[in-house]
Structure formats: C-alpha cells, structure tokens
Symmetry: C2
Subunit: 720 residues, 2 copies
Amino acid sequence: MTASRLFSQDPPVPRLGRERVRALLTPRSVVLVGASDRSEWSVMTFGAFAQFGYEGRLHLVNRRGASAHGRSTVTSCTDIGEPVDLAILLVSNEATADALKDAADAGIHAAVLLGSGFAEAGQDGQTAQRQLAELARDLDMAIVGPNGHGFANLVDRAPGWTAFAPDPVLTGPVALLGQSGSVTLTMADFAAKHAIGISHMIGTGNEVNLDLLDFMDCLVEDERVRVLAVFAESIRDPGFFREIAARTAELAKPIVILKVGASELAARLALTHTGALVGNDDVIDRAMAAAGVIRVSSLEELIFTAGLLAHTGPLPEGGLGLAGMSGGINDVVADRAAALGIPMPEFADSTKAHIRAHMAQFATVQNPFDLTGGASMNQDRQIEPLLAIGRDPGVALLAYSGLPFAPSRPGPVSEYYRWIAEGLRGVGRRGVLLLNMVGTIDPRQHALLEAAGVPHTVPGVEYGLQAISHAMWWSGWLREDRPGDLAAGPPQAPPDAVGVWPEARALTFLQEHGLPVVPWRLVADGAQAVAAAEQIGFPVAVKVAADGVIHKSELGGVALGLRTGAEVLDAFERVTRAAHASGAEVRGVVVAAMREGGVELIAGVVRDPQWGPALAVGLGGTQAEALRDRSVRTLPVTEREAGRMLAELRGYPLLCGFRGLAAADLGLVSATLARFGRLASAQGPSLRSMEINPLYVAGDRVEILDAVLVWADAEAPQAG
Amino acid sequence: MTASRLFSQDPPVPRLGRERVRALLTPRSVVLVGASDRSEWSVMTFGAFAQFGYEGRLHLVNRRGASAHGRSTVTSCTDIGEPVDLAILLVSNEATADALKDAADAGIHAAVLLGSGFAEAGQDGQTAQRQLAELARDLDMAIVGPNGHGFANLVDRAPGWTAFAPDPVLTGPVALLGQSGSVTLTMADFAAKHAIGISHMIGTGNEVNLDLLDFMDCLVEDERVRVLAVFAESIRDPGFFREIAARTAELAKPIVILKVGASELAARLALTHTGALVGNDDVIDRAMAAAGVIRVSSLEELIFTAGLLAHTGPLPEGGLGLAGMSGGINDVVADRAAALGIPMPEFADSTKAHIRAHMAQFATVQNPFDLTGGASMNQDRQIEPLLAIGRDPGVALLAYSGLPFAPSRPGPVSEYYRWIAEGLRGVGRRGVLLLNMVGTIDPRQHALLEAAGVPHTVPGVEYGLQAISHAMWWSGWLREDRPGDLAAGPPQAPPDAVGVWPEARALTFLQEHGLPVVPWRLVADGAQAVAAAEQIGFPVAVKVAADGVIHKSELGGVALGLRTGAEVLDAFERVTRAAHASGAEVRGVVVAAMREGGVELIAGVVRDPQWGPALAVGLGGTQAEALRDRSVRTLPVTEREAGRMLAELRGYPLLCGFRGLAAADLGLVSATLARFGRLASAQGPSLRSMEINPLYVAGDRVEILDAVLVWADAEAPQAG
C-alpha cells in the first residue's frame, strides 16, 4: 500500500493545466537519462520506443558517455544541442535532483521518473519527495511519477514507459490510468489479451505534481478516447473529479473506476445518529454514482466493462436478450442476471413468431433462448433467432453465448462463427456482443472469431454479465439521472449558525423553509405547558428545552404519551428537574403533538470534509437502528432519487401498507426528503449535520417530530 | 432450461448401484452404433478414442455395413461375435429403441445416448423419454443421457464422449460432472487451460436411469479422484446426496457444486410466519453448507475452487499470508479479502524480523506484504519473505501475486519464477499457490511457470480469493463442524398430532419437552381468569383459546398489558366475544405473564418436502418481520451453530446490550433453539411447522410467550 497517496498531509500542489499534460504526452523529442546496456530498466525503456513505433527523435545520456543500446550517448542534456520535450530519468534517487537540474538547464520542462523510495518509503522517503516537489516547482518541471512506470501514448505512438510493455498491445479507444505502475501494466496486458484496444496507459505513481485527475482531464478531450478505465487508491480532489465526470457525461464517455484502499476520509462528525448510519466508503460510492461514474471491484470487471462500453456506447432503454447453445449455460445466465439486476424481458409476440418459424418444433421460445446443440450445424437456426431477438423492442443489448473453445481439428466451427457474426452484425444499431461461457479465450478461437468478424467478445458469463449490468446502469443514468444545472448558490447559513441549536430553534428553522413540523409550542412554565397541550390536542410529548443538549431522553428530559393536563404538569416538573440535575441550562419545554400508529423514519445530512454533504435515510427506532437499515446519497438529491432511497430500505414494505399499516404517500415523503436535502446543501460548509429523528409517516401525514442542527463553532476552522 | 430435470413428475427410478456405474465407466470393449463418415458426431466420437488413448477393443455398426473412419463395420451388434461392455448410440430418436434392443440382444447392458428431443422437448419428448425408461428397465440397460454428451474416463483412458473433446486435456484428480453436456465440456476445457487435471468428465443429460448422484457415489470411492466438481440443475434425491456428502467428508474429498435454475422445491406450507421467513433457495443453500458441500455461483469459481482444493487438500487453521510485487494489487487483495471474509492475520514478530533482515530498509512489513518492484532482480528478496510468511504460525495458506505476464523478450523472468517456485515449495506442508493478478494465463507464462516448477496457479485476484475463501470455509467445516452421529430415532409424534394445535396444547407440549415457557393458565371463565392473573402476577395478557385459530390477534382475540383484575375481566369478555363473532369455537382463554423491555425473537421450523426440516430464527415484531432479518439452517442444529445463527442476524447487536438493553445470555438462547430444533426433528414428517413467536429474551430470562404447532392432517398424504 502506498501510504503517501492515502494519507498525504501535504498541501495540494497547483495544477499545471491541460495543455502541459497534452504536450508531455506528445513529445517530438525525448532524452533517456541514465541509458546503459547494464540496466534492465534502460533496455526496457529504450525497447518501448521501437515497440510503439515512436517517430520523434530519441537522445541518450550516459554519465560516462559510454555507448548504449548500440547508439552513442552524451554526458549531459545540455550537450544535446537541440530542443527536447521530455526527459526520462533512469538514475538513482541520489542523482535525481542533479539530473532534473541538468534537464531544466537544457530547456526541458517535462520528465518521467522511474525511481522508488520516495513518499511510499516511510519518513525519509516523504521528506525526499517533498524536496523533489519543491525542486520541480522551482524548475517548472512537470513530472510523471516517481514509482509509476510512466506513460505510453499509443494513439500517437509516444512512449515514456519504464518497465515491461505488453506485447502485443492493441491500439483502440480505452484509456488506462492507474496510480500503480504495475497495475496499469496488468490492465494493459489483460486488455490486449482480450482484444480490447487502448489509447494510453499511464501509471501516475507518487504524483509529485501530476495526478490521475490531470491526465483524466486531458484525455477526456481527446476524441480518440471513448472510455476512461481508472485504478485509484486516492482521489485527491473530489471537486475536480466531479468536474471531469460532468464533462465525460456531456461527451457520453464513461469513467470506469476501481477505487481501493482504506478510505482517505477524515474522521467523521458523529455527534448525531446519522453519523453512525453513514459508512465511510458509502459516501465515495454514492458520490461516484451521482456523478455517473461506474465503480467496480476487480481489475477484470474494470477492463471488460470498459471494453464493452467502448464497443456499445450508451445503450437504449431495455433489457438483455440472450441466445445460447447450452440450456445449462442459459440457466447460469438467468440466475446471475437476476442476481445482478439485469432485466431479461419476455420477447414480443412478433419475435417469438419469427423464431418459431425458423426453429425445430420442440424449441421453447423464451429469454434466455436455447438454440439447442442441433442448431450448430444450421445457418438458418443460428442467424434468424439472433436477428429476431436483436430487433425485439424490449431488447437493448443482444448477447450470444456459444462454444467454449475451438476444437483442434478443422470442422464446421469457422462456418458457425461466420453465421454468428452475420447475425450479430445484422441487428443494426443495437449493441451486440458475443458472450463466451467462461473467462478465457483460446488463441485459436480468437483467430476464428476475428476471421469471422464477430463484433465484440466478453469471455465468461460472470464477467460478461457484470459488464452488461454496469453498461445498462450507466446508460440509464445518462438518459434519466444526469443532473441538470444544480449548482448551489452561495451558502446562506443564518447569522446564529453556531454550535448545537436547541430543538425549538431547529423546528422553527425547518418550518420557515417549508418543511412539515408537528404542531408544537415552546413554553416557560407548567401552566403554559398545559394550555399549549390543550390547544394542540392530547396526547402530547413534553421535551426539555436546554442549550447544548442533543440526546434529551438520555438525561430524562422527555415525557411521552401525556393524556391529561395533570400529566403534562407533572411531566413539566419531572423533565426540567432532570435537566437541571444534569447541569443543563433549561429554557423551558417544548410541548408537541404525539403521533402513533405510523412509521418513523430518520433522515440526516452529514458533511464529508472532502466529498461534501450526504443524505442518509433509515427507519427510526432502536431496533431499526441496530439493524443499520439505511440508504445514502451525496447531495443534491432529486425527488425521484429520494424515492429510490426509500425503495432501497429493507423496511420499505412498512411504507407500502404492511400488515394493516396505512400505505405512505411516497411522493410526499420523497418531496420532503429532497427539500430537506436542498435546505441542508444551501447552508454551505458551516452546517455540520442536520437530522430529523423521527420523521413521522402515516398515509399522507408526513411530519417532523424532532430535529437537531449542529453548526461548526464560530472559532473552529471550517471544513472544506 | 431442461424442464424435465426441474419439474419431473415421474416416479424415481430404482438405482442401478455403484458396481454397474463402475463397469460402465471402464468398458474393455465398445461398439459405436451409427458410425458413419458423413456424421460429424460419429467423427468426433470415434476421434475421442484415439485422443484419450483407449486400449480396449472398438467395434463399429453401420446399418448398411458401409465402412467408416477407415474401418470395416457390421450391420448389427449381434454380428460382433464377442462380448461388448458398452454401446454408444449415434442414431436418430426413431431408431433408438431398435438399436437398444439390438445391443441387448448382443448381451450389452450399458449405453451412451447422444440424442436430444426427449424429456427436454415438451410433451411429446417427455412421452418418448418415459417409453425409453421403460424399455431400459425391460432390457436391463444402464443409460448415460440422452442429451448429455456421455462420459470420458481419463484416468482409465476410456471415452464414451459424443461431442468435441477439449485438446489438450490434462489428467488429474478433479472429477467433472454436469447435467448439461455442453457445460461439462466447458468445464473440462477451462480446467485444461488452467493446468487443472481432471479424472473424469461426465454429462448426465436427461438422466433416464443414471443421474448425477449415481456417478458421484461411484467416483468418490476412486482413490484417484480428490475433488468432485459438479454442475447441477436439480438434485433429485436429497437423502442420497447427503449420504454421498457424508462419505466425501469421511474421505476429506470436497464436493464443489454450481446449483442453478428455479428451485425444484414444492410450494411451501406458509401457514405460519416462519414460512414467509424462509426463502426457497435458502434451504438448499443451508442443506449443502450443513453437509460440508461448497456451493458456488459461476463456472470459473467452480473450476478454480476445485483446482485449488485438489492441490491443497484440507488446510490447517489460520489465515491467508500474501506477498506481492505490486502495492496496488495488495490494496485490491486487502479490500477483497475483507469483503470475502478471508482473515489476513498480522505476521508474528519472528516473521517480521526475518523479513526485515532480508529486505530494503524502507519496506513496511505487513500482510499483504509488498515485495516492491526492486525485489524482482534479487533472489534473496524474493525467496526469504515467502519462506518466512509460509512458516508463520497464523498463516494457513501462502499466496504470491506476481507478474501479470511473461514479456516477449528473453530476460530475467525465468530466473524470477524459479526463485518464486523455490520459495513456495520451501514452506513445507502448508498449502501454497501462485496468485496471478488477473484472470488470464499467457501461454508463454504457462511454459515458464511449468519449467520453474511453481506448484499451483490461480489466475486472478478475484477468482483466486473466491477459491481461497471456499477452501478455508470447507477446511474449517471439516475440522470443527462435521456432524457426528446425529441420526434421528424413529419419529415420535404424539397421538393427537393432527391439524392446528391450540396454544394451550402447544405450550404444554413444549414445556413437557424441557423448553422454557412463560407462566400461564388455561381458564374457562372471567373469574378464573382474574384468579390466574393474580397468581401469575400483573401485568398479564389474555388470549382467546379457540380451535383452529392461528392468528388470534387478527380477529381481536388478544388483550395485552392488563394491570388489574377489572381489566382482565373486561378483556375476557372482549376477546371471547370477538372470537365468537368470527365463528370460532371458543374453549376459554389463556392468561399469561407479560414481559417487557427485552428483545423478542421468532423461531420456527418448517419442513421442506425434499430436504426435510429447517430452522429459522429472526427478530420478532412487525418492523423486523418487514426487514426479513433472519437466519436459516437445516436440522439438526448444534448449540454452537444456533449461536452462529444469532450472530448472523443484522439485529444481533440488540442481543448484546445495545443502548442500555440487558445483554442476552447467548448460550441459553442457543441451547433453547437447539433443543427446539431437536424436538421438531423428532416429530418426523407429520409435523408441518412449529413456531415460537415470540421467544422473549432479557439477560438470562429466555421464555416462550406464544407458540403454534401445525400437523399434517390425518387424511392427507404425508410429504416425504
């Protein structure tokens, strides 16, 4: 684990900008510093220039001027005698500073650093990296690395790659970026093995002054790049990440990301129950989903999802249609598609009729469709069902699962693939792919598929369906959920926004902003309490109003279910006495209407220092809290999304009329939640948390029964 | 989907026995009926005999006596003139019956059938298959198939395989069995591509009179078979399946199974709440886990898990130790291991010291351990950490994650693999494997790994960790959870075990069998009710006692929280009136002590017609019910397992002293549940369901507050 990327305490480095990155990735002239036949690294780095077909000029620097790789060298960059765009440094850590200075003296302002032993290597390494960053700033040097293997720009045939390079590697529309060089290399090799063409491979390593986001920002504007596939240990700058994501959405180019490692989130403000409801990783997860970024959990999922999306682009609305040669595999597909939430719609009548006309009598026409083994010898039985399913109005993507491998003996298999290819190509603009049975492609099979012209292959039901599920999710997000201009205005926190607000202030604030609050009064003595209760109507609750107290019931400051004036009077005495006893400064009590027989929700907003505010919704009550039944989103949240949050709760049936409970007005609850989220967002960073607990719901009665607002202290520095 | 295997209504066919299966799999002489150069199937089937190196005698039958595959033929089996052990029929469906009769006339009593269009093909096909089964019985013919591709016995070099055969295929200790021929073929090919040796491949297809279980039963006794890898759409005979599983456990040979398709479970008896708590697939899942069978969800997982276990056998107690070349991949491993529940223990001090003595100064010694890129050039830095981690007392399995591929250029990679192999082999009896980064093995890499002698490779972190998690689970089950002799005695249901028992009868029954029930009385009038309440102590509940009523509260038959005699008297009138009004025959009321302030559980046993009784435990109350928070096991359940069921509940914290609740005596709750399960099992199949709702738990007070017992009606036929 590269600790530096996860826990860096260093202040952010100013960004060098898209043009600097673009220039770095397209050098017309490169110098390799530390070139030597005795260095494996030098041999590999030099070799990459030939392998990738670099057409610019390549210079070699060797300290002693010894020839290397069959070419002469100079002893210093300043001796090259012509402008150079990029220096690749293969020198020891100790020699790095001098080499950078030499490069800068020669007018070079971009470098790839091979070294390790910087920020990933304990205290000393971190000091070394800090010095390196300062030097880079002084020299105006853009640096890739160290500890990241550099980059290879395949579409422009320009490498600055300091490790093994996969061979062959296929040029295409997927840009691979990783904070780990070896992971980036792995991704590139895996992509090549599965016929997924890549545009760039970039290992950013310790990120002295260029990070993942700089490269993403640049590559998304390159029209030859259609998908960004990213391996990240840390997203340093969530705001910039969101900007890039918004731009990729505009261009309909997905970002697929494997984000690993311990969360870099700072310790959370857990003053309220909501804090405990929200897991650290939830916020990143939800922030990415809200931005339309596809988050995956394995490298295989990353590459196959990127490859599929590079092939299909955004999919139309609809489900998966699948035809397969094996009833057994169709069973696996049906099970896994259900588990992954991929719809497999029933075919339209016209589809069924078309298929029946071309199939053996005993075939059952359903989705997934079993072509049966007999069809492998018959063109008509192969192509016609594919064409029909591909044209089905409910099918957004047609997949075919076929032979696991090519037999060694020549036979009807080439013909068979040709038929499949024909069927797949024939379904027009709908996305198509060949879904193999298991996660492997035989080289012989590869050759046959290519010769037949099969459009795109994902090996394996498991990874294939994962990729399909991601592609469908992203396409739906792009069609329906991409946020419009939801830019928040300037923060508008009220002037008294300091510390913990008393309940009465919180309820007033929520009411003023149009949120529904149960009838209530703040009163100063017992007689007023009784009068208020009579006005509101019994039963009522009496809750102590005291400065700085959040959990009133824990100090005995709450009395519930009071049905008479006498009970209210008694309760007034009890709760104020209890609060006094605990040392709180009592202002009076809140008398509020009691609600019974509905469902209680808890809704809260907490502010993550990096990713901003997130809304959590769950069922209220001790039991539900213990069960951690909750749904989380980063803000803003639309009414529609709030409705989805409710539907995600395991306790959702309770809102739908479970066992005699009144069904909730879900639209009203969603609207309330969305309004609550907007209000919280509008307060800006001075709001630490805002919680409704409980939000009472019974039919179309939706009321806030209690609320807590916590603001950053005026003196304390405010979180980002 | 092969409907026949899922929904077969046919009566079970008597088993032919292990010796018949063994003989079928080792024919000394085979006849191919329907041999013809014009049939692709014939070409493939004939070719397999050469490919697998068959050393017995092979005869060909062609209806017209035309020569085939360069050999002469006869026109009938009876013309062969010497004993034949097996007939492989490549004839049309129409010709099948005659061909079978001809074979039988020639003294042949085992056949492989290629055909399709039988039970998988609608009504007509099902009729045809029924006729086939009758014919097979009349002819005493053991049949593999139809619609299943037959078998290949690699360890004895005897094929009866009627489709493509993977080439090459590697002989080894994993037996592959599937109800789908093409899936079995896929499994075999995938295994071969990943250097996993197989002993047999068997596609059982429509299973006329030999099913998966017959072959599993036979193969488990073969000492050359170490793992059974099974693809199943249906387990026809759960009892026999459990017997086989018990035998595999005895021999420490795991079964790994991919069980797909709609559940074949009959509609469940949902008279009680427990019925709704238990999902269909849960029971199969739990029955398999209880039998020590590893259930997986993809073919890749199936093959890699089987391959790993064939290599390691049962693992000792402990976690995973991992060393890798990439900090980034280590991050992925750490994330995924946590998600899959694989422990990655901290290394012992001695391990750390040993590693530090051999590593670069800046290496952080943790698990997973980052060897760093620099180590790839240094034997000492590669081997020594592996040896040290392999010897660590907390490490049950050592894994290494290395280069994703072999570079095309010759270089230090062979050396590097040799070092790794040395380190892996050097750790002695602990399991070892090489875990590659992503799911692919380059042929060049394969050759290098083999040459270096790397013991076992699983490609890809994702599938590798899945396999490791299964292997660790199974090894733990074998060490700790394998049931002893828990054979139930003969069923001992009481004589009045008919229909729905009234609460009073149910509570008495539970009490008589040592289960703790809250103080209660059955009384006939109001005065008795008051007296009972005074004896028991207030508050009490009053519940109507009426024949055949399960959900008393739904008809107004329950009054809770009664605190005075007057309230009891009033409640008596109310609940009996309500029950009368609903037409129930009222016997009186049950007066029972009320319990408040603890946690309420629900526990129930339902009987699956095929898999037998299963115990479900969940939190009580409407909210928890809506949240479906429950844990399920098939019976028997030990106290220890009951404890695990409680720990699986999302609401488990409620039992551990959540927010001021008294922590439950978990041992006592577990013992109560285990006793409840034993009691239910002992009743045999006449018990339909038995439910405690609620089971009250507060500290060491564990009491049944209410219960329902439902027996099969005396007239109705009893489920299996």
